[in-house]
Symmetry: C2
Subunit: 205 residues, 2 copies
DNA sequence: AGCATGTTTTGAACGCCGTTCAAGGAAATT
DNA sequence: AATTTCCTTGAACGGCGTTCAAAACATGCT
């Protein structure tokens, strides 16, 4: 009957899993990565600690699932920014950089968790996680195309990632306050200039 | 008599502190930040757990002290790179970027710890830590001077930090393997081009 | 020398943590 | 109804950072 309340037992399990991810997401968003603790989650779920390990193998897996959601939210931000009109490819790339900064600012703890989590050494990122990441970068590659027309596909892929990494570095060090004298307000004013300068340098040989 | 073995009790305390920092540094260098554990340090020091808290208020403080050493080592790398001869300011800035990458590669865990540690929220970085950091950036500022002659001091300070942050982001994402398809070897080949492109873009209005 | 005073060292204990697992309960299958 | 399969429970395990009463040591004084 009611399809959203119980359904098959398999569907119920899946629903519980979603609920768990939601709680973890909320904990991360409000208190940071370290707040994801088994006993707290159990309390919120209304179950015993052990039950969590039926929905998820690890707390690490849970964190990764939240990270996936965060990546998707970021993707949505970028899509929204792309919807506006931009004179040229550079305009959109600049807008994306500023969108990234805004996303990080507005979702600080969740965004931070994206780079803070560690999976056991030599464990590669799972394929489902990488897939969402590719989606983000493929956008960048497309927009870099007009500016790097003479590059191979591989070289362009790399340049897209380098541009992202550079912008990320700027955003990260500014928000993390690990490096002094990089106040966020000042960076907001300079980020566009940075991207423009790099792109200008890319094209002027 | 023997001045290096005991001296005043105050000096002994200081020596023990150095020894402790050394062990912590070694743990970080070989096993990462999480390996800094009170009981393990006590074992290496040959004392009881509690004694550690006489030399250091926290494990956090200890980590910060190690971070300071790492910053200084990085400083030495940069100095060494500056000793070579470079045609122009750009040449040195490029060399520094590549030196930073090399430092991160050769001291991976220690370098990572520099950005991984967290002090309690709203705790500012201690002054003694900030001081060593300034030393690193002031170099950059000096070299950026010819390229940003028309900027105010503040604007140049910011640009120096932005350049560092950008390079750091590229190095970090490549070494952390959180973003796929940024293999270190490929980045090694592109980092100089990135810095050159940015600097070229900076000067060509 | 003995005693009193201050300082340092000790390690058991506290309150957390992630994770496991024997036991009991519920649901599905026969 | 009986049986098998699955899920849930929560005490228990080993580990963590940190504390603190008591013991050991050092120092100064008579």
């Amino acid at each position: 009957m009611a399809e959203s309340s119980e359904k098959s037992t398999k569907g119920r399990r899946e629903a519980q899993r979603e609920r768990l991810i939601g709680f973890a997401e909320h904990l991360i968003a409000t208190q940071g990565l370290d707040a994801v603790r088994a006993r707290e989650l159990a309390k919120q779920m209304g179950c015993a600690v052990g039950a969590i390990y039926n929905l998820v193998t690890d707390l690490d897996e849970l964190v990764l699932l939240v990270a996936q959601r965060t990546q998707r939210d970021l993707s949505a931000y970028l899509d929204a920014a792309a919807a506006g009109d931009h004179a040229d490819a550079e305009g959109l790339l600049v807008a994306w950089a500023e969108t990234y900064l805004r996303f990080a600012k507005e979702n600080r703890l969740r965004w931070r968790a994206l780079f803070e989590f560690r999976l056991p050494p030599d464990t590669p990122l799972p394929a489902w996680f990488v897939k969402d990441q590719e989606a983000i970068f493929s956008r960048l590659e497309d927009r870099l195309l007009p500016l790097t027309a003479r590059d191979t596909v591989g070289a362009r892929k790399l340049k897209a990632r380098i541009l992202f990494a550079a912008v990320h570095g700027i955003v990260a060090l500014s928000l993390e306050e690990k490096v002094v004298a990089m106040p966020i307000e000042a960076v907001e004013g300079e980020l566009a200039a940075f991207v423009r300068a790099y792109l200008r340098g890319l094209t002027t040989k």
